[in-house]
């Protein structure tokens, strides 16, 4: 179900040492960000997620300016390969974010997410393999219903990641959660609604 709005608008500039990022991303749904190592993908996601503050420009989410809001008040969840809460077991982890936001989570919905994203395992999250942890982290973000999920290279380590992206996109669309994901594989962009490419800190919209 398409929304009649442009959810994410980010027009930002940031200098980090000798690296200069000048990016403009204005789209919605499932956005793919590609680029080589050091092209500025992580920097852009950190700016949108609130980990970094832009030197210039502004970031809007659903027409609301979030440029200077702290991470916890943006409604934006950042998922990297290290994004997890180590001491929790899988089931507690999955509903942790939703509990924080005060959401009531139906056990059927959790079961659906687990089944769709291939989470048929249990145990302490810190003891899981990287790919299993990433499945749990992404599912946790989805169940917590933020407005936007930023996925920084957290899809690449998952087995059959293209099938996983399809399943994740389907769940995100159903939950009305928009996603920006980074990948080094340009082929992954075929599963996205929009594709941006970053090269030496400059962004280009490909579709």
């Amino acid at each position: 179900m398409k929304r009649e709005r442009q959810l994410i608008e980010a027009e930002v500039k940031k200098k980090l040492g000798s690296f200069y990022l000048e990016a403009d991303v204005s789209d919605e749904d499932f956005i793919c960000l590609t680029g080589k190592n050091g092209s500025g993908k992580t920097t852009l996601l950190n700016l949108v997620g609130g980990v970094l503050t832009p030197d210039e420009g502004c970031i809007k989410l659903n027409s609301k300016e979030i440029t200077n809001l702290p991470i916890e008040r943006r409604g934006v969840s950042i998922v990297t390969p290290d994004s997890y809460i180590p001491h929790l077991d899988v089931d507690r982890h999955l509903i942790w974010g939703a509990k924080i936001r005060g959401l009531t989570v139906e056990s059927d919905y959790v079961a659906e997410v687990k089944s769709s994203l291939g989470i048929g395992f249990d145990g302490k999250v810190s003891k899981l393999s990287l790919g299993m942890r990433e499945r749990v982290s992404l599912a946790t973000s989805l169940i917590s219903r933020p407005e936007l999920i930023l996925v920084d290279e957290a899809l690449s380590n998952i087995d059959n990641h293209r099938d996983f992206i399809d399943a994740f996109k389907s769940l995100a669309t159903k939950a009305k959660v928009d996603v920006i994901f980074t990948t080094q594989y340009s082929a992954d962009s075929s599963q996205a609604s929009h594709h941006y490419q970053l090269e030496s800190g400059k962004s280009t919209r490909l579709f």
Binding site: G49, G50, I78, G97
Partner: protein, 258 residues
């Protein structure tokens, strides 16, 4: 690398020879029964209990500060937090006495509600906390810095407040660091002499009425009974300290069990 091994062995010998010499002399040629009298064990008991409480106070009061220093650059704050460890400790004792004396509004208030720091267990614990807290902060700061900030950013992105993130994500994963740093801090408190010789030369409260903390008692024995009693009491105290160090090594060796 042989030269490094030789220099290291000499350096280590400089540190441990006096300790083992004390153990040998204390339980051997210089042994004096007064050095392992009931008074000595009561004194060690007071030192262990007050140092443990000071370590717990450091955990409760200074864990947030060390986390703040780990996540925010604040050289002025870090320098200020080092002051109690970097000045002669009798000054800390004098400062506590002035602070709680009728000379200050705070002291007048404490006196009005019947709280006394002088020659009391409370005064002893406060002095031990002040002198050992900088060690705790300095031990916890690198531990927090080594923790992956992505966990915290993830929790914040899920909507958790800074406080919730600290309590629900940082602290549950810092158990080993807190235990290790608090044991280091407790070891430091156990060896304190300067400040407590002014604030609590002896304690005038039950159940430790008339008992001095162990470092003060060893000094008293040296001045009253001579070298033999001081060396024997020191040897007993060293055994307790070695037991503490063994616990600390065990804690560090099994990081994932805590």
């Amino acid at each position: 690398m042989n030269w490094l091994r030789i220099i290291s062995a000499v350096s280590l010998a400089l540190l441990v020879i006096p300790v083992f010499l004390l153990l040998y002399e204390g339980f051997g040629p210089l042994r004096e029964p007064v050095g392992y009298s009931l008074n000595v064990f009561r004194s060690i008991e007071l030192t262990l209990i007050s140092s443990a409480i000071a370590a717990v106070a450091s955990v409760v009061l200074f864990t947030p500060l060390s986390y703040y220093f780990a996540r925010n650059k604040n050289s002025i704050g870090e320098t200020l937090s080092d002051i109690p460890a970097s000045i002669p400790h009798p000054i800390i004792g004098v400062a506590i006495l002035v602070l709680v004396s009728p000379l200050t509004p705070f002291g007048k208030f404490l006196i009005s509600i019947g709280i006394n720091f002088f020659d009391s267990v409370l005064g002893l614990i406060v002095a031990l906390t002040i002198v050992s807290a900088p060690i705790y902060i300095k031990s916890m700061q690198p531990y927090f810095q080594s923790m992956n900030i992505a966990h915290e950013n993830y929790a914040l992105g899920l909507g958790a407040s800074r406080f919730r993130t600290f309590m629900s994500v940082v602290i549950p994963n810092a158990g080993r660091g807190i235990l290790s740093a608090s044991l280091i801090s407790m070891s430091r408190a156990m060896s304190e002499f300067g400040s407590i010789s002014i604030v609590a030369y002896y304690v005038l409260q039950q159940p430790f009425y008339g008992i001095s903390p162990a470092p003060v008692l060893i000094y008293q024995y040296y001045t009253y009974y001579g070298l033999g009693a001081a060396v024997t009491a020191s040897a007993v105290m060293i055994l307790v300290s070695i037991a503490m160090m063994i616990v600390l090594r065990v804690v560090k060796r099994y990081p994932h069990e805590i």
